[in-house]
Amino acid sequence: MRLEGSQLQDAYLEDRCDVLVLGSGTAGAIAAMEAARAGKKVILLEEGKYFAPEVKRNFKIAESVRSLYRNQGGMVAFPWGDTPPVVITLGCGAGGSSALTGGVCFRIPDKVHRHWAKELGLTELALDKLLPFYHKVEELFSIRETPQELRSKGVFKFEQGAQRLGITCKPVKRNMTDCRGCSRCNFICPHGAKQSVDIVCLPKAEECGAKLYFEFRATRLIAKNGKVQAVAGEILDSQKKRKGKFTIHADTFVLAMGTVHTAHFLLKNRACNNSGLVGKGLTLHPAIRIYGLFDEVLNSHQGALQSVYVDDFMDDGITLIAIHVPPNIISVTLPGIGPGHREFVRLSKQMAAFGAFYHDQPSGRVWRGLGREPFVTYRLSSQAKAGLVKACQVIGQIYFAAGARQILLPIWSKTVISSPDELKSLTPETVKGKWFEISSYHPLGTARMGLDRHHSVVNQFGQTWDYPNLWISDGATLPTSIGVNSQEPIMALALRNTLHMLEVGNNRQ
């Protein structure tokens, strides 16, 4: 059963269920599906609108950004110190950010698993404990290597350059079936090839009897006697304005609103914050994109959005990954105005793009915002800045080795680089952190897991220390950043947490 706030006639709705899931993204959809499969009465609340898959597949890009991105893609972490504003890309709608990813799936690197298990003592997060869940989600979401024929000409150019420099490109694994390589993954796959949670989990949850409520914004956590009793909030109209109220009572609650909004929800409700850590410890994986301009036409958007990656620099905290969006979006990122800009857009057919992100230490924070949205701050550390400079140099060298005429960097006043020597002049000393154009796709760690209530917000299974019937099951709970795309780890942890939650519930009964 599906309910949309804008279609509702009543100004008040009250309901009851066994498991109430807040958020229909990667973690929420999996939690709802598993709980419904286990025979629980499940309600899933989502703030965003519902669009049928066949409708959103036909969206133009600007329409996708307007309808499916939180704040129309305008969620920004405000800079602290030598840092630029960081655009955080979050989804808001059925499937959350899962519907908008490039489909890239990595397991958490062994090194990170070892760090969590041995140094932080989080033994339940050891690789061998999570392995069965990785296997399950890889099967469920059809996660497999991107075939070579889906690599674009731009990626082949990069591979040529990398080979000359002795750098290895590896195929990316993605949750796709029958991908046709149109590079539009970030704006809803037009062919339904991407196996995001809105395609895989939400229909299954619905089949098993879960109720999905869209345009329902949860605002209040109602707790009594050490337990959460209900969640209250606003029913929204099609303009996202309040048109009514709701209260939903449940036995168990799962918060899965995403790293930023889960923390914001807890902060607004002054809940689960005995440790004082809610909202703190945010990591963003600051990411940049670099273009290489070649003499021949490449049309690099004809191929998979993300098909190969380079992990040779992981010890420096740098992951390089192919990314080439359609020309409509590349045009937005190119410099200049008027005829100068048009010339860049014309040349975009000859461009190849590669991205990089840095495995950062916690240096961000989610604060309680004045309005509906949280206030996020982020400080780019000197190590992260050095990492991003190095990423620019590595990708630039690779493109020059492949025969690029120019490199376009996301650095103010050093946008166009015409020779390898010019590239060498870029050092952490000559580039300021605030000169970068940075975005973030993997915010993590604002309600982290831990061993006790004084140093963490939840236990190793996502159960909050303060309320035994309140669970957090999204990227907020990861104890550190992971250095790779976070989709698969969040899926695996959500699956594990939900099964554990159901087991705990059954034992209690």
């Binding site: 149109c182 958007h301 105005i337």
Partner: protein, 139 residues
């Protein structure tokens, strides 16, 4: 033109910005007014949260009045000549002050997103819009 987000004055600034952002040297190219880009941006912004809408309006206000700082003219953006407007916008894009540059780039992103999502401008610069629209990708 019915405005969802802007006042008439703000809409005039948006129209003037569109003319400068998407100016072409080829007179055959479609102009932003022919493509009705200002109205599209207006509709696109209508669903933004009130806070963000206020920020955008503040952004427009700043862009309208900051020529005083950048081109040393006691005139607002709408009163500048087209050449002065171009010069001013280039200076904003290259501006050393992060806040101003960010405000400008945020606005530019919204404008460009709506403009380059149109078929005609992409065709004019030689992209095969049909294949993009049908999302064929690699066939």
């Amino acid at each position: 033109m019915k405005s969802f987000t802007f006042s008439q004055r703000q809409l005039n600034i948006v129209i003037a910005l569109c003319e400068r952002f998407f100016r072409s040297e080829n007179p055959k190219d479609a102009s932003p007014s022919q493509l009705n880009i200002a109205a599209k941006i207006d509709v696109w912004l209508a669903e933004l949260s009130p806070n963000l809408q206020s920020l955008i309006k503040m952004d427009l206000w700043a862009i309208n009045w900051f020529p005083i700082l950048f081109v040393r003219r006691f005139r607002n953006f709408l009163q500048l000549t087209p050449q002065e407007q171009d010069c001013y916008l280039c200076k904003l894009e290259e501006c050393r002050f992060l806040t101003l540059r960010t405000m400008f780039l945020a606005l530019k992103t919204i404008f460009y997103l709506n403009f380059w999502d149109e078929e005609i401008p992409l065709r004019e610069v030689g992209h095969d819009f049909a294949s993009l629209l049908e999302n064929r990708g690699r066939v």
